[in-house]
């Protein structure tokens, strides 16, 4: 069987695209504005930014609208757009000690310096449908906000910074000095410029996880926590807050804060680390764009899991984890099977028919 070149389908593709647009926007309801998505569906926008690896809330909201709510597609669109822009440079290295938190909790200690701040979270409320939202009135929301602001007028604002809980463990000598993943490879690599090789340096590992897909990372981390692995995490500290972006001014050379980014950070304390020295806790680290606690915790669990000396399960294998967590790659590979595989399938079909014909012939000879 030879290859036969074919072409066609352009009109069908154009019509399919229009049909898709009509499915999104052809209904009777008012059309969504990106601003509404950015403000009111902020978890989705944050997820798209984090998985698209581009902090741009307005564009992420637009991508979410364009993809009709498919976060994988939206992240893909955002990451594609990113490739059209020049890289102006690298930000000055930052420490998350500079984060201005709006949420900060610890599952390790009840009373932490600065206190536990629940922040904006539905974590402690029942998952019951709120039918009032079907007909939410802007006036009612404004009144509620005004009352809330008035009720909190007498409360002292938070300090700009809080000490870190795990710093206390470190100063007491209770934490391993550094994880063993990637050996002692401290190179700062950029996986958008350099291909990932294994064992990957720690910087490549964290960058890959930071842009990983939430669901994929959660599945791998969950497998580890459930028993296909050895990480039994305690959340030392989980923070959601604003991190300043610092960049050297091209004219003056001075490092300036050019904006803030909302990020989520998780530091998980795991079982006693595998070190030759004194027994210590080990630490897993997660940090991602936006407010996405599930991803940050899953990242921290995986960061700790791949530090296991002898990987016994998939989630402990650095190469396995890092090559499967990217949403755009995995979604792209999965969906490429929708593309025509006419030639390969015809080849399989021919082979199967030949095998069956051969079997029939042998059966005839036997009988």
């Amino acid at each position: 069987m030879g290859y036969v070149a074919v072409k066609g389908g352009a009109a069908a593709i154009e019509n399919a695209e229009q049909f898709s647009m009509i499915r999104r926007a052809g209904g009777a309801s008012e059309l969504l504005k990106p601003d509404q998505i950015r403000e009111q569906l902020h978890f989705a926008v944050d997820r798209v930014m984090s998985e698209g690896s581009l902090y741009a809330p307005e564009l992420a909201a637009l991508a979410f609208k364009q993809s009709a709510g498919d976060t994988l597609e939206a992240a893909f669109i955002l990451r594609s757009y990113r490739t059209t822009l020049p890289r102006l440079g690298y930000g000055a290295p930052m420490n998350t000690d500079d984060m201005r938190p709006i949420r900060r909790i610890s599952a390790a200690f009840k009373d932490i310096p600065g206190g536990q701040l629940l922040g904006p979270t539905p974590d402690y409320t029942l998952r019951l449908l709120d039918f009032d939202l079907q007909d939410e009135s802007p006036d009612h929301t404004r009144r509620m906000m005004a009352r809330l602001f008035k009720d909190t007028e007498s409360i002292d604002p938070l300090p700009e910074r809080f000490p870190k809980v795990v710093d206390m463990l470190r100063r007491e000598g209770l934490l391993v000095p550094r994880p063993s993943a990637g050996g002692n490879d401290d190179r700062l690599v950029d996986i958008t410029r350099q291909a990932l090789t294994f064992p990957a340096p720690r910087s490549a590992q964290l960058q890959t996880l930071a842009r990983g897909e939430t669901g994929g990372m959660l599945a791998l981390a969950y497998s580890n926590m459930r028993g296909y692995g050895s990480v039994h995490p305690v959340i030392g500290e989980l923070r959601v807050g604003y991190l300043p972006l610092r960049y050297p001014n091209p004219v003056t050379g001075e490092v300036e804060t050019v904006g803030d980014m909302l990020v989520t950070e998780a530091e998980v304390i795991s079982r006693i680390g595998e070190t030759d020295g004194p027994a210590r806790f080990s630490l897993g680290y997660g940090l991602c764009f936006g407010h996405n606690e599930t991803k940050a915790i899953a990242m921290a669990v995986l960061d700790r899991a791949v530090a296991t000396g002898e990987p016994a399960t998939p989630s402990e294998d650095q190469e396995f984890v890092l090559t499967h967590v990217d949403g755009i790659e995995s979604m792209g590979f999965c969906n490429h099977y929708k593309l025509p595989h006419y030639v390969t399938f015809q080849s399989e079909l021919d082979r199967l028919r030949n095998i069956q014909a051969g079997q029939s012939k042998r059966e005839e000879i036997r009988s």
Binding site: I102, R103, L118, F149, P163, M168, V251, M261
Partner: protein, 170 residues
């Protein structure tokens, strides 16, 4: 590159902060019309030339983990522009797709480096108003967050030594 000679000229009475650095902190809260009006005021002097039109680009954000290992968290969309004031270059970089904000920042920097702070009176006024608005907004949000601070009632107090963090808790 580091500038030296213009450093003294940029010293502002407001805690040593330049108008540019103060503007940078609040420009995100300014609306498009406000920024456009300030730019129009500066352009009217005829002393500014746009050296490089605003463009969007990416800055890779680098963060250190708790073990002080730096890594790249991801890229941030920024706008950048360059403006000259009587030949003195100034650069504006700001988060987001905000071309006019980048131009204003660049123009203000160029004017300050050129030693023409008197041209920036209207910008200084706008900055003061924006600072006040932003401060009020930030304080309101901070108080909201503070209202979610947990006060535990327990039968027995937990004793943890947080001295190493500079604070002891009981």
């Amino acid at each position: 590159m580091k500038y030296t000679d213009s450093e003294d000229r940029r010293k502002a009475p407001n805690g040593g902060k330049t108008i540019k650095s103060r503007l940078l902190r609040v420009i995100g809260s300014a609306d498009t019309g406000q920024v456009a009006a300030l730019l129009d005021g500066l352009w009217a002097s005829g002393r500014f030339v746009v050296q490089r039109a605003p463009r969007c680009g990416l800055i890779m954000c680098t963060v250190s983990d708790p073990f002080d290992t730096p890594f790249h968290l991801g890229e941030v969309l920024v706008s950048q522009a360059e403006v000259r004031c009587d030949g003195q270059p100034g650069c504006g970089v700001v988060c987001g797709d905000a071309p006019e904000q980048a131009l204003l920042l660049a123009a203000v920097e160029a004017a300050e480096l050129r030693g023409c702070a008197e041209m920036l009176a209207s910008v200084g006024d706008a900055v003061r108003r924006l600072e006040q608005t932003k401060q009020e907004h930030a304080a309101r949000l901070s108080r909201l967050a503070a209202a979610t601070r947990v006060r535990f009632d327990s039968m027995k107090k937990e004793r943890v030594d947080f001295d190493s963090l500079g604070e002891s808790c009981e």
